[in-house]
């Protein structure tokens, strides 16, 4: 199953290496990982999208992450009300006459053309990963020259429905 996990970490050198190393050592499949600073200077946030077999594996993953000295908090937000976004840059083969056609395709995705050259067009799109997948599929027949994706970053919405329990893994017994 695909899970979205966020980890708040101390922004120290080596922390990213420690985390990716541990995921690899324990044979977890990472689909994407994104890291960036947060509102607090010394703290970064990672968003991991992983593919795990079952709940036991998932629990191992969060516990192993939590065990790292520089990891402050690990949360599995997959089943929560979340805002999740990814950004992709897509360079498409395009002769001038196709430009309008492409414009028509990307518009519903609220994507923008950010670079134009004689024989290519670069498109920027943000959104949920599924939306980005969909746009890529539509553009594929035109010939994608280059594709770069940031991986997902996500956090909880300001308001959470009261019904579900947040599966937050901490050092303390649940």
């Amino acid at each position: 199953m695909r899970r979205i996990i966020t980890a708040t970490v101390q922004n120290r050198s080596g922390v990213l290496n420690r985390i990716t190393g541990l995921l690899q050592k324990r044979q977890f499949n990472i689909e994407s990982i994104s890291v960036g600073r947060t509102e607090t200077d010394s703290i970064s946030k990672m968003t991991l999208v992983v593919e795990v077999e079952d709940n036991q594996k998932l629990e191992q993953l969060t516990k192993q992450l939590n065990k790292q000295i520089d990891v402050l908090k690990v949360t599995d937000i997959t089943d929560k009300a979340i805002v999740a976004r990814e950004l992709a840059l897509i360079k498409v083969v395009s002769a001038g006459q196709l430009r309008n056609e492409l414009q028509g395709i990307i518009e519903p995705f609220r994507a923008t053309i950010i670079d134009v050259s004689k024989d290519s067009l670069s498109i920027q799109v943000t959104g949920k990963p599924e939306k980005i997948e969909a746009l890529i599929e539509l553009l594929r027949p035109y010939g994608i020259k280059e594709l770069a994706r940031t991986g997902m970053t996500a956090f909880l919405r300001g308001h959470q429905p009261q019904t579900t329990e947040l599966p937050s893994y901490s050092l303390l017994n649940r």
């Binding site: 970490v9 101390q10 050198s13 080596g14 290496n17 420690r18 190393g21 541990l22 050592k25 036991q56 629990e59 191992q60 516990k63 192993q64 939590n66 065990k67 790292q68 000295i69 520089d70 990891v71 402050l72 050092l171 303390l172 017994n173």
Partner: protein
């Protein structure tokens, strides 16, 4: 008041270097022994150590691997972190085996490695190795010092992290310019580690749940691991087991956590454990694991592990709970705190005399066995004879292989923290240097290193340290002229094709000892051995004893790989 200075003698401002700060921090941590080996990148540190030589003993091993295994032995019996220093590049990479060994067996170590100067890190400078990259997966934590003023804080954190919670190795990589240059900034060593909260009190709800199950369990059993000893909880374990008449099986590393001769002791469980201990784990309806990590050499095939049991697992490391075995009652806690709280929650238990009788029937019917040839020596007999003459009181270290398993089986440990062996990593070359560290930690005690003829040759250069320090370690080579454990597997699983496992050529171990100025003996029969033992153990100096034992002995009983706890072979002669 004005300071008067004599003309021509300007007041000298003593500025401390990084190396001075390091030494100061070590003194603050009450370190009294360092194990290490010098080299270019740690010259400033060794200079500071020289100046502070009144404060520490530095043990110069003859290989960095010897230093780190000695530090592990020291840590295991003293309960204090072992401290290691090595130079950059090859010095640091020579430590890798020991770091991995300490990580998997949870031994507290603080390791200082030299590094090339900050300005050239990343340029493939002379003796540069990516120590952070190499040690990240095998350390509890690691640091590379970037500012000299951080050094005191980092050292303090390193000792704290290594020795609290689930212990483990911490590496501090120190670039040469950091240790060489004066510290001009202010520094302090206060630290705050918000992501690290090692002291966890047991959850009373889970303990109540455990107490409830105990009230109805008909076939309860305790599995005691090294976590009992890390938590200094042997007393509490004994009280708890006796109060509820709970039989106790131990893991390889848990030997000594419960007295081996106790009526409730089932002995060691696992691949070469006793029939009874393994049957108890197989048949039980309640399994209380205290500080063991359900290693595969213990559980055998997981499908057949405690198939009808409610599993309770007390462990300080939450990640160990539920990792290999589905756990019904998780208790994240230090073993001592959990057992103390349990004594309060668990008042009564179901009567289970029948179960105890059943197990003692197993014990009588299927004891450990070997065939004693009367004249020649077999390894099991050697261990038993040594056990006898030392009254089971020695501190015993082992190397890895058949002799290790026989020592575990036949040197019935009564007391905690007297058994030093490489369990998780199974590191050949561990046993002898570990004995050096153990002897330094406990100078008054008898320390025995049971080593194989193969493994001893991996680190025997440390004989120099025995001679130099006149450490009275008794090295007993269980010499079967073979990489015995490999030979056994080739006999059993590869139709006796002994591929590269017979050691036809060996040094003359007696002459070798002699060349180091150490007493050496060779014996090949029981009579001479028994005659010699009093001399060996009454002599207050190092001894190397080459015991020629029969080669064909195999370690039994055994759970073959892939088999379950109930499928032991070699249970009876």
């Amino acid at each position: 008041m004005k300071v008067q200075t004599k003309p021509g003698t300007a007041p000298r401002i003593e500025t401390k270097t990084g190396a001075d700060l390091l030494v100061e921090s070590l003194i603050k941590e009450k370190v009294d022994i360092l194990f290490g080996y010098p080299g270019g990148a740690v010259l400033p540190i060794y200079d500071a150590i020289y100046k502070a030589r009144e404060s520490f003993t530095h043990i110069l091993t003859r290989h960095e691997q010897g230093a780190i295994h000695a530090a592990e032995g020291y840590a295991r019996v003293s309960g204090k972190p072992g401290v290691v220093i090595a130079t950059s590049g090859p010095g640091a990479t020579n430590l890798v085996t020991g770091i991995a060994d300490a990580m998997i067996d949870s031994l507290p170590l603080v390791i200082f490695t030299g590094q090339v100067a900050r300005g050239v890190i990343g340029t493939d400078a002379f003796q540069e190795a990516d120590v952070m990259g190499i040690t990240t997966p095998i350390t509890k934590h690691n640091y590379q010092v970037q500012h000299v003023s951080d050094l005191p804080r980092i050292v303090k954190e390193a000792f704290h992290i290594a020795s609290t919670g689930r212990p483990g190795p911490v590496v501090v990589d120190i670039p040469k310019d950091i240790s060489a240059n004066p510290c001009k900034d202010e520094y302090e060593d206060d630290f705050h580690l918000p992501g690290y909260q090692p002291n966890i009190k047991p959850n009373p709800l889970q303990l109540k749940k455990l107490a409830n199950v105990l009230e109805t369990a008909e076939k309860p059993v305790i599995l005691a691991g090294a976590g009992v000893m890390f938590g200094s909880a042997s007393e509490e374990l004994r009280t708890f087991a006796e109060k509820h008449s709970l039989p106790v099986a131990t893991t390889l590393l848990g030997l000594g956590s419960f007295p081996g001769g106790h009526p409730l002791a089932l002995g060691m469980a696992g691949m070469h454990g006793t029939f009874t201990a393994n049957r108890a784990l197989y048949e039980c309806d309640l399994l209380i694991n205290i500080g063991a990590r359900f290693d595969d050499r213990l559980t055998g095939n997981l499908q057949h592990f405690a198939p009808s049991a409610t599993v309770a697992h007390i462990d300080i490391d939450p990640a160990e709970i539920g990792k290999n075995v589905t756990t019904h009652i998780p208790v994240v806690s230090d073993s001592k705190a959990a057992l103390q709280a349990l004594s309060f929650h668990a008042e009564s238990s179901a009567e289970h005399d029948e179960w105890l009788q059943h197990l003692s029937g197993y014990q009588q019917e299927n004891p450990l066995w070997y065939k004693n040839p009367v004249k020649e020596m077999v390894p099991q007999w050697v261990i038993e004879a040594v056990h006898k003459i030392t009254n089971g009181n020695a501190i015993v270290t082992t190397d890895v292989g058949q002799h290790q398993m026989w020592a575990a089986q036949y040197y019935a440990f009564e007391e905690p923290d007297r058994w030093v062996t490489s369990g998780g990593l199974g590191t050949m070359g561990f046993g002898f240097p570990a004995a050096i560290g153990a002897q330094l930690a406990k100078p008054e005690e008898t320390v025995i290193a049971f080593v194989g003829d193969g493994g001893f040759q991996m680190t025997l250069q440390e004989l120099s340290v025995l001679q130099e320090r006149r450490l009275p370690v008794k090295v007993i080579i269980v010499n079967n002229g073979a990489l015995g454990m490999v030979r056994q597997w080739q006999e059993t699983f590869y139709e006796e094709r002994y591929s590269e496992s017979l050691l036809q050529i060996q040094p003359d171990f007696v002459k070798l000892a002699d060349s180091y100025g150490i007493r050496g003996y060779r014996v090949d029969n029981q009579e001479d051995f028994l005659d010699l033992l009093p001399e060996v153990f009454s002599y207050n100096g190092p001894v190397v004893l080459d015991c020629r034992v029969l080669q064909q002995e195999n370690v039994y009983p055994m759970i073959a790989p892939g088999k379950g706890l109930h499928q032991m072979i070699g249970v009876k002669p």
